[in-house]
Symmetry: C3
Subunit: 268 residues, 3 copies
Amino acid sequence: MAQQQSRIITLLTDFGVQDAYAGIMKGVIAGINPRAGIIDLCHMIPPQDVFRGAYLLYTSYRYFPKGTIHVAVIDPGVGSERNILCVECKGYLFLIPDNGLLSFILLKEKTKNIVRVTNTKYFLPEQSATFHGRDIFAPVAAHLSLGILPSRLGEKTDQIHTIDIPNPVFEKERNRIIGNVISIDHFGNIIINITEKHLADLKTTEKDFTISVGTMKITGMVKTYADVKAGMPLALIGSAGFLEISINHGNAQKYFKAEKGQKVCINS
Amino acid sequence: MAQQQSRIITLLTDFGVQDAYAGIMKGVIAGINPRAGIIDLCHMIPPQDVFRGAYLLYTSYRYFPKGTIHVAVIDPGVGSERNILCVECKGYLFLIPDNGLLSFILLKEKTKNIVRVTNTKYFLPEQSATFHGRDIFAPVAAHLSLGILPSRLGEKTDQIHTIDIPNPVFEKERNRIIGNVISIDHFGNIIINITEKHLADLKTTEKDFTISVGTMKITGMVKTYADVKAGMPLALIGSAGFLEISINHGNAQKYFKAEKGQKVCINS
Amino acid sequence: MAQQQSRIITLLTDFGVQDAYAGIMKGVIAGINPRAGIIDLCHMIPPQDVFRGAYLLYTSYRYFPKGTIHVAVIDPGVGSERNILCVECKGYLFLIPDNGLLSFILLKEKTKNIVRVTNTKYFLPEQSATFHGRDIFAPVAAHLSLGILPSRLGEKTDQIHTIDIPNPVFEKERNRIIGNVISIDHFGNIIINITEKHLADLKTTEKDFTISVGTMKITGMVKTYADVKAGMPLALIGSAGFLEISINHGNAQKYFKAEKGQKVCINS
């Protein structure tokens, strides 16, 4: 753990930017720990899209200093009996509703401690039934940033919900991998749940891959965008370690009309 | 007042996110007080929408530590003879153009001191006629965050403009309340100017309410979203203390085709 | 240069707000310099739009305290042989891909030192081919904010790319100026590459100007929006020092159907 005075709190929500919900959370945090460094991960998760929240959390969490408190409030069950968890994993703390937001991370990593957050001492005095980001997550995160131990927040548990993350399928006899689109970013890059490790299963070289998205195909992989001409499609291993389909200086999502969940086939 | 070194400045504007206007304000603040904590409340107020600014300020201001300087630059009269005010209220400072941005707050609270901000000593040396956020609000807020007294900014006044905030009407003989939509949030929640106090006027229990929005009706109120099935409409008291109409896991604004200002009727 | 402990890092990117790319950069910075003050200039530069990045950088940079490190990652050539530069100019440091992002500033100012950033000691240990914002720009900026000298980053160079910034043309015999739309902001204000200095060439007074945008005309210039009635078009010198066409309480871009690059003619 980093020294406590420099603990950072990140915020990942589906609150959007047209209201003041994220700002209010920061106000609550600042009222408890004026020195907390607060960093926005993203507030544009589509409403209730736990899968997307889990994906962004996975691609982001490890680039922060150890000890960072990652707060994710994509919380369609707010006000219900769903638990709020404080999870220790890889030297980070995650404060999340128990709805699967760690699912991508838990494909690779193990949790160390899981606590059900129930100690109202660390909540705002009054809790609404619809904005636990303000009333519970923000004050609890602020107290954690001051150094209180997760064990003070409630009882330990060994239960944590996960959601299904699609796994690519390697069809050995046909020497091909069937993957799925797991993210489409702002640039229109199409991100697929296939890593270099998966590709190593194929009996071929990178140059010989044929990647099929819908009715369209890309042949071969490159190292970076500039390896093809502007406007041309390409495939590469992107910054999150996944196979990405892009257009140099363009928008692959528009070109391929790709959708999240869509199948992508890598043939050799 | 909180100790001066930890004073926070919040920013609420209609500047949007496609330009650097909000960032520039932060640069000016940092040049005067590098230690000022700056928190974005919201920059997506629709251009010139003072009503919406007033609403967000009301729902946000009290979640910040006392002493916070709330700067709101929704300022269609920029460059005109309109005043800029520094208002003390409930232990907070508000730095606003005098166009009604405190109207929601002043329904409930009283101002303590109002100062017309005229002392150019605290402005940038040159002031444009169109970007007082940069040239006046930012530097004045930064100086306030360093601890200068509001009285240094100009002369006291007891005048402050307000705009009309619609009041719900209780029709005793018909035992019903007519309210208005005052906000629609990012999730499509429809927020109405009716509080629990208003509802107490109705001779009925919460279960018996019929809430009419256009041609559609909701019967009864619940405590939280999860009290109805996913996709079903509901009414509850939301996190700002107002009646809200929502769809569990859905978007009530799209479903009810609600618009700001629209009448909503609560019958018993 | 400002004292090193208070150095600010600004971020200007085309990363948008739907992913966590900007947040990840901040995590990397915080891991190296937890005290760095990070300010978002803008993340909504249209993808690969170096011209717009250069414009926003020009209108913003000088409102930050001296010593500020301006990081601009509009980087269509990421992963290619394009250089990354650390440029000293007017007491600021600019960390940019060498693609013209300083073009607007260099119309007026001279660079002091230019360094090609090649010293991998200040990069993340592994560098992707597609996200140098995270792997190079963020860690290098963080090290600069800790006070390392730009000369530690690589070799000096005197080469820096610029892009064409259109120059207004003064046609003396016809006593008119032909300019171009260089920016349209969130409010729909149309910003033109004509300054007061250019206007001084015209043999006339401000009142006599006729400004033609497409088939529409505005006569005369005013000082501020409120000089015309709500809904009326106007021309003034805006906060960036350029001629702007606006609608008081309205959106000039929609009214004039203006587009970036479009010609605007000022006649007397």
